[in-house]
Symmetry: C2
Subunit: 335 residues, 2 copies
């Protein structure tokens, strides 16, 4: 069965049938607008992302289940970067009528699985026909107490610059998809894990919230366009700069395995490769041990990779103290 | 200059530069998520709409200023239909890189003009490249006290069925665009007014809110897919039916002018023509006079067009009491 045969209202019912109640949802899908209630004392956090076929994803690479997961994951990551608690999502799809229903079902399963993992309820959306390619638009709403909301603008000179997890894996996964699987020394499993970082990212929702509620961090952003570009936003909005130590960047064992065969690509993949959806944040040096402990509780690693500076440049240093000139400053959707 | 030359961040700054402060906005565009504060005691209303080029609009017909206005108007209309107060909007655009910057500027002016007219602040969005055609995704958030929120499910047997404004104008405007301008008896001005109902609808924001806050209505919806289909949603969710009197449907003077040359199309255009963005609502007969007075204060007409019935069918009656069988039950985006 094709989506064109199911019709608009059939498509909406099919998605809505996967939903759970509760979670502050007073009226979900099925009225002119959804009705929800914020928890007492909370402010509302809102973000939206659009994913376009052959711009943000390719169906040849991205199975629909993981595409559904990622469509929500990138938005959850934005709420995490504010230190917020993700609550509700809206999903809009412009779908070519010839799309098989199995594709939509798997997409929806993936979206709702990601939602359930992070306590998010799907409360509305829109579906329509597309003339060319699938377009996905997701809006997420979260909440947090005003004093715990972390902005890009809060960094201070001499704060540490931190990142969670590992960097460059998603960019290397993209390179594997673009160039085809690499021969030895990588195993197929190692390659699949890197590709999975690109196709099925894990937003750092618990970590971002925990850091914010513990009052340990001064500024935060998620790493979607590469650390250099994304820390650049913190620097710009805080009217500061920073020094990043290239050899401090956290690299996964899989990434390290491929290094010998790709020595030249390493610095730029880890510095400027997009879509890792880790968190980059700044924090006073005095909080260093507490942050490591808190992140351990959240089940992820985090490490300092540099220092915020009063002078407004962002500089990358090599192990010998010399300056590294990155080739690529991050992803621009129009170039 | 083309959008591809401006780049993603240039495009975001260009849109953000048109924004005003205030309106419950704590942090607007420029962070991972927007931060807003609901007014005390209010619940959150949320709706989202996607507009796809050559599905919902054609650039040959729709100038960018009015397209910008309409992109937000259809979402404001959803908040109006809940009796809510529109507050904040998110705007996402997938834009072909060859789009002229003048198009985007005019679109944004139109969007922000509609926002200003209804007290809405643009607090975020997303921009990306599209391979084929412009796709617009708008999310709107509003608020209202829980006891004043009007749902589709609240109708009672013997309630009047009401509509605001006039019906069928937008559908007739679409017919004029599709078939080319009509010869006499219509003047160019009359035709332009009908076309404008399609291209630049006025959401009934003040009227919907006033009706809700006065406690006069039991169920409400906006007329986007035609009265028959949209009242059908009220009937279905209220587990009731209704009788609509065809000769009670409010028709504009422009619509009446064209009637003699289009006699056969009248009933279905006014019953099932989409995109009028009027409100359809139900109310106890005892409220009739108060509703007329309240709508007069809001500067629009409203009139009863039928009665809610306990039996679940929706029936359309002609002046002689016989049943009219509509040819078209409303617009389905996939057929």
């Amino acid at each position: 069965m094709k989506i064109g045969e199911l019709g608009e209202f059939g498509l909406i019912s099919r998605i809505a049938s996967g939903l759970a109640d509760g979670n502050g949802v007073i009226t979900g899908i099925g009225d002119d607008a959804a009705v929800t209630a914020l928890s007492p004392g909370m402010q509302l956090l809102t973000s939206t992302d659009m994913l376009v076929e052959d711009v943000h994803f390719r169906r040849a690479w991205h199975d629909p289940y993981r595409l559904g997961r990622k469509s929500l994951a990138v938005s959850i990551s934005d709420i995490a970067a504010m230190g917020g608690i993700p609550r509700w999502a809206l999903l809009s799809l412009a779908v070519p009528p010839e799309t098989p229903l199995e594709f939509l079902d798997a997409f929806t399963r993936g979206f709702l699985a990601m939602a359930a993992e992070h306590g998010v309820a799907l409360i509305g959306g829109d579906t329509c026909s597309s003339r060319a390619g699938l377009t996905i638009s997701v809006t997420i709403m979260g909440e947090q107490e005003p004093e715990n909301i972390i902005r890009r603008s809060g960094a201070h000179p001499d704060d540490d610059i931190w990142v969670t997890g590992t960097l460059g894996d998603a960019a290397l996964g993209l390179e594997l998809l673009e160039k085809g699987k690499l021969p030895s020394p990588m195993t197929v499993e190692e390659q699949e894990r890197l590709i999975s970082r690109l196709l099925d990212p894990s937003p750092r929702s618990a970590a971002g919230r925990a850091l914010a509620e513990a009052g340990l961090v001064s500024a935060m952003i998620d790493v979607s366009d590469g650390l250099l570009a994304d820390f650049g936003h913190i620097a710009e909005l805080s009217a500061l700069g920073g020094t990043i130590h290239l050899d401090a960047l956290p690299l996964s064992p899989d990434f390290r395995t491929v290094l010998p065969s790709h020595p030249s690509s390493h610095p730029d993949l880890a510095l400027s490769g997009g879509e890792d959806y880790e968190l980059a944040f700044t924090a006073p040096a005095a909080n260093r041990e507490k942050i490591v402990q808190l992140m351990k509780k959240c089940g992820i690693d985090a490490r300092p990779v540099g220092i915020v500076t009063a002078s407004p440049e962002v500089t990358v240093l090599l192990a010998d103290g010399s300056t590294y000139a990155p080739q690529n400053k991050g992803y621009n959707h129009f170039t």
